[in-house]
C-alpha cells in the first residue's frame, strides 16, 4: 500500500465515528431506535482499522503527517496533522475497543430512552474527539480535542437534562475542568511564546534548549520569584491534566459525573477521557523530564490522590460512586508512575485499568439495570444467583482491581509499586502510601462485591420481583471485557519473569528517559510478595467485615465517628469549595456585577444605541422613496460624481 492509502486508512479511524455522529446528530429524528445501526458499525470498523495500525507500528512503521494548514497568523503557524507511534497505537486500541463494547452495551442499556439517537450521536462524537486527541501531532490540535471531549462529557453527563442533579453535575464537571484548562491554556501560550511552535517534535527539541531560562512570576507586582521556565510550563500543563483526570483538588466533578448514563461513566469517566491527562503527561514527558520539581509534584499529587480517593471509597454507599472514587484513586497511581518516570508503566496501567474499570462500570450498570435503577448498595445484597453473569464478570473486575496475581491489574499496579520503591527517597515514601492505597483498594473492591452480591437480600420487596439478568447485548461486552481484564495484563509480565512486552513496545516513545535499573531481583520478588499479601489482606478484611461479621463496620464507624463522617462527607471538599469560592463569587455578582455593571452601565449603553438608531432612522428613511428609478438615479449620480472627480484630477 502506498503512503497516501495508509494515511487515508488511518484517517478513517476518526472519520467513521464522526460520520456516525453527523448522521445521528442531523437525522436523529429519522434514525431514532435504529441509531445504533449507524454508530456501532462505524466504531467497530474503527477498531478493526486500529488493529491494522497496531500491526504497522509493531513492524516499526510510524506516521507523521500534516494534513491541512489550519491557522497562519504571522509567526503562528499550526497545522492539523496526525502522529502515530506506539503510544498512539496503544491509545487507539484502548479507545476503539472500549468504545465499541460500550456502544454495543448501550443498545441494551439505553433501550427505550427518548434521547436514544442523541445519546449515540454524542457517544460517537466523543469517540471521534478522543481519537483525534490521541492522533494529533501538535499541542493546539490536542487542546481543541481536549476541549471537545470535555464538551462531550458535559453533554453526556447531562443526558437526562430534565433531572436537576444531572444538569448540575454536568455544569460542575464543565466548570471544574475549565479551572484546569485555564492552566493548560496558559501553558500552551507560554510554550508558544518561548519556543515559537506548538508542534510536538519541535517543542521537545526546543524545550531542552530552554532548560536554564527562568521566569520572574512576581515581576508585575515589583517582587521577585524566579521559577524555572520549563518547570512552570510543566506545572501549567499538569494543571490541565489534573482537571481532566480528576486529581486532587480538582477531583470533585468526577463522582458527580455519575449522574450520566452508566455506559458514559464506563467509557468517558473511567476508560478514556479521564486518562487523557495521563496520556498528555506521557506525551509531553520530554518537557516534564527536564524539571525534577515538576516530576515530584506529579508524583506527590498522584500518590496523594491515590490514597485520598481510596479512603473516601471505603464508606460510600452509591455503587457508581464507589467505582468512581476508585477511578480517581487509580488515576492517582498512573500519575504516580508518570512522576517517577515510569511512563510505559503508566500507560500499561492506563490500558489494564480501562478494561477492568470499564468492566466494573458496565457491571455496575448491569446491576442497576437489573434493579430498575437502584444504586444504593445498602438496598442490594444476595444478587449472586439472580444475575450470575454480571456477578462473575464483576468479580473478575474486582479481582483485577484489587491486584490479585494473574489478573491484569496485578501486573500493572505491582510494577508501579516496584518502580516507586526503586525511585529514591520520595519514591520510598510514595511506595508506602501506594501500598496502603492498594490495601484500601482491595478492601473497598470486595466490600462492594460482598454487599451487592453476597449475604441476605436487602432489596425493597417490589424491586425484588423484577430482578432479571441483562440481555446478551449487555452481557457479551461484559464477558469480552472480563477476558481482557484478565489477559491484557499478560503483555506486561514483569522482567523477572522474562516479559514486559509492552515496555519494549513503548520504549521508542520514551527512549530519552533514564532507565531505572532493577537493583536486585530478590528484593523485587519480595516486593511483589508484599503487594500480593496486602491485596489478599484487604480482601480478607472485607470478607470479615461484610460476610463473616456484619456488625464490624458499624462498630468501627462508631469507634472513630469524626473520621467516619470525614470520609463519608468526602473530606468536606464540596463544602470548602462552596464556602471559599462559590459564595463569595455569588455575593460579588449580585451586589456589583448585576445591579451596577449590568443594569446601569451595559444595559444603558445598549438601550442608548438602540434609541439613537431609531431616531436617526426616523429622519433618514424619507430618502427611501420606494421608486426604483430614484435608486437608479442615485447610481447615475454616483457615476456622474466619480467621472467628474476623475476628469477634474486629470
Amino acid at each position: 500500500m502506498t503512503r497516501s492509502v495508509v494515511l487515508f486508512r488511518d484517517l478513517l479511524i476518526p472519520i467513521l465515528p464522526l460520520a456516525a455522529f453527523l448522521v445521528n446528530g442531523l437525522f436523529g429524528r429519522w434514525t431514532r431506535e435504529k441509531a445504533h445501526w449507524v454508530s456501532v458499525p462505524a466504531v467497530v470498523l474503527s477498531f478493526l482499522l486500529s488493529l491494522f495500525v497496531l500491526k504497522d507500528v509493531l513492524s516499526g512503521v510510524n506516521t507523521y503527517a500534516s494534513l491541512y494548514r489550519w491557522i497562519t497568523v504571522g509567526a503562528f503557524d499550526v497545522s492539523v496533522g496526525v502522529m502515530i507511534d506506539p503510544l498512539t497505537a496503544v491509545m487507539l486500541i484502548v479507545v476503539t475497543s472500549v468504545s465499541s463494547l460500550v456502544h454495543i452495551y448501550s443498545i441494551g442499556y439505553m433501550h427505550g430512552d427518548k434521547g436514544y439517537a442523541r445519546f449515540f450521536a454524542y457517544l460517537s462524537l466523543f469517540t471521534f474527539s478522543m481519537l483525534m486527541l490521541v492522533l494529533s501531532n501538535n499541542l493546539l490540535e490536542l487542546f481543541v480535542f481536549w476541549e471537545a471531549v470535555g464538551l462531550c462529557s458535559y453533554l453526556l453527563i447531562g443526558h437526562w437534562y430534565d433531572r436537576r442533579s444531572a444538569a448540575d453535575a454536568a455544569t460542575k464537571a464543565f466548570v471544574v475542568n475549565r479551572v484546569g484548562d485555564f492552566g493548560f491554556g496558559l501553558g500552551l501560550l507560554l510554550i508558544f511564546v518561548t519556543l515559537g511552535t506548538l508542534d510536538y517534535q519541535a517543542v521537545f527539541l526546543g524545550a531542552k534548549a530552554a532548560t536554564n531560562q527562568t521566569v520572574d512570576l512576581l515581576a508585575p507586582f515589583g517582587g521577585k520569584l524566579d521559577v524555572g521556565l520549563v518547570t512552570l510550563i510543566a506545572l501549567l500543563l499538569f494543571a490541565g491534566a489534573m482537571g481532566k483526570s480528576a486529581q486532587l483538588p480538582l477531583h470533585v466533578w468526577l463522582p458527580d459525573a455519575m449522574e450520566g448514563p452508566t455506559p458514559v461513566s464506563a467509557l468517558i469517566h473511567a476508560a478514556t477521557m479521564v486518562t487523557a491527562g495521563v496520556y498528555m503527561v506521557a506525551r509531553m514527558h520530554p518537557v516534564f523530564e527536564l524539571s525534577p520539581s515538576a516530576m515530584a509534584t506529579v508524583a506527590v499529587v498522584g500518590g496523594g490522590t491515590a490514597i485520598f480517593a481510596a479512603t473516601i471509597g471505603l464508606v460510600q454507599n452509591d455503587i457508581k460512586r464507589v467505582v468512581a472514587y476508585s477511578t480517581v484513586s487509580q488515576l492517582g497511581y498512573m500519575f504516580l508512575a508518570c512522576g517517577i518516570g515510569a511512563y510505559g508503566i503508566a500507560i500499561f496501567h492506563l490500558m489494564t485499568h480501562a478494561f477492568f474499570k470499564g468492566l466494573l462500570f458496565l457491571g455496575a450498570g448491569s446491576v442497576i439495570h437489573a434493579l430498575s435503577g437502584e444504586q444504593d448498595i445498602r438496598k442490594m445484597g444476595g444478587l449472586r444467583n439472580k444475575i450470575p453473569a454480571t456477578y462473575l464478570t464483576f468479580l473478575i473486575g474486582s479481582l483485577s482491581l484489587a491486584g490479585v496475581p494473574l489478573f491484569a491489574g496485578f501486573f500493572s499496579k505491582d510494577e508501579i509499586l516496584t518502580r516507586a520503591f526503586f525511585a529514591g527517597d520520595l519514591g520510598r515514601v510514595l511506595w508506602g502510601v501506594a501500598l496502603l492505597g492498594a490495601l484500601l483498594t482491595a478492601f473497598y473492591a470486595f466490600r462492594l462485591v460482598y454487599l451487592v452480591f453476597h449475604g441476605e437480600t436487602r432489596l425493597l420487596p417490589d424491586a425484588a420481583h423484577h430482578v432479571h439478568e441483562s440481555p446478551p447485548v449487555m452481557t457479551v461486552p461484559l464477558w469480552i471485557l472480563a477476558v481482557l481484564a484478565v489477559f491484557s495484563g499478560w503483555v506486561g509480565i514483569p522482567l523477572i519473569a522474562g516479559g514486559d512486552k509492552i515496555g519494549h513496545f513503548l520504549e521508542p516513545v520514551f527512549k530519552g528517559v533514564a532507565h531505572v535499573a532493577h537493583a536486585d531481583i530478590r528484593l523485587e520478588f519480595w516486593l511483589i510478595a508484599v503487594s500480593v499479601i496486602v491485596a489478599l489482606l484487604g480482601i480478607a478484611v472485607a470478607d470479615m467485615f461484610y460476610r463473616t461479621r456484619p456488625a464490624m463496620p458499624d462498630k468501627v464507624a462508631s469507634a472513630w465517628p469524626r473520621f467516619y463522617s470525614l470520609l463519608l462527607n468526602k473530606w468536606w471538599f464540596d463544602e470548602i469549595f462552596d464556602w471559599a469560592i462559590v459564595r463569595p463569587t455569588r455575593r460579588i455578582s449580585e451586589a456589583f456585577l448585576w445591579k451596577v455593571a449590568d443594569v446601569r452601565i451595559i444595559d444603558a449603553f445598549v438601550n442608548g444605541v438602540g434609541s439613537v438608531t431609531q431616531q436617526a432612522a426616523a429622519s433618514w428613511r424619507r430618502i427611501q422613496t420606494g421608486l426604483t428609478q430614484d435608486y437608479a438615479m442615485t447610481v447615475v449620480l454616483g457615476l456622474l460624481a466619480i467621472v467628474a472627480v476623475w476628469l477634474a484630477a486629470w
Binding site: 428609478q629 438615479m633 447615475v636 449620480l637 456622474l640 467621472v643 467628474a644 476628469l647 486629470w650
Partner: protein
C-alpha cells in the same frame, strides 16, 4: 473616407436614431420593433469590426430569442392601451438632464483618453484567416473555460427562477394561492 467608414457612419446613424425611437415610443410594440432595427445594425457593426461570430450571436440570441421573448410577454400581458397612462414620469426632464450630463462626461473622458495599440496574438488578418468563430472558441475554451461553466450555471438558475416566478401555484402544490 473608405467603404468601411461609410458603412460605419450608416450603421451608427441608424443605431442612434432607432435607439432614440426605442425609448420614446409610448406603445412598447413599436419600441420592440425599433430595438430590432438597432440590434441588426449593431450586428452589422460587429461584422465591420471583424467579429462575425458575435454578429451572428447578436442576431440569433438578441433578435431571435430575447426580443421575441419581450414581444411574447407583451402579447401575454395584453395591457389595454388606456391603462398605460403617461409615457414618462413627472420629473423626467430632470432625470433626462442628469443622464445626458453623465453621457457627456463619459464622452469627455473617452475623448481625453489615449488608447495605445498593444498588439495581441489576434491581429485582424489572422482573425479573418482563421475565422472569428475559431479564434473565439480557442480563447473561450481554454482561458475562459471556468467562467464559461459559471455562465451556464447562471443561465440555468435564471431559467429555473423564471419558471418558479411565473408558475401558477395551486393550493394542492403547497403554495400560496394566486402567487
Amino acid at each position: 473616407m473608405n467603404l468601411d467608414q461609410a458603412f460605419f457612419l450608416y450603421f451608427a446613424a441608424m443605431i442612434v436614431v432607432f435607439s432614440i425611437v426605442t425609448i420614446t415610443r409610448k406603445n412598447p410594440v413599436y419600441a420592440v420593433m425599433a430595438l430590432l432595427v438597432v440590434f441588426f445594425h449593431v450586428a452589422g457593426l460587429y461584422v465591420l469590426l471583424n467579429a462575425e461570430f458575435i454578429a451572428a450571436l447578436q442576431v440569433v440570441v438578441y433578435a431571435g430569442a430575447i426580443l421575441v421573448l419581450y414581444l411574447f410577454v407583451l402579447m401575454l400581458l395584453s395591457v389595454p392601451r388606456e391603462a398605460l397612462g403617461a409615457a414618462a414620469h413627472r420629473r423626467w426632464p430632470v432625470y433626462a438632464l442628469v443622464g445626458g450630463a453623465t453621457t457627456f462626461e463619459i464622452a469627455l473622458l473617452l475623448a481625453r483618453s489615449k488608447f495605445a495599440p498593444r498588439p495581441g496574438p489576434y491581429p485582424p488578418d489572422v482573425v479573418r484567416e482563421m475565422g472569428s468563430t475559431q479564434a473565439i472558441g480557442t480563447v473561450l475554451f481554454t482561458e475562459f473555460l471556468y467562467p464559461f461553466e459559471v455562465i451556464s450555471l447562471v443561465l440555468l438558475v435564471a431559467m429555473i427562477g423564471a419558471i418558479v416566478l411565473t408558475k401558477k401555484w395551486t393550493p394542492a402544490q403547497g403554495g400560496e394561492e394566486g402567487r
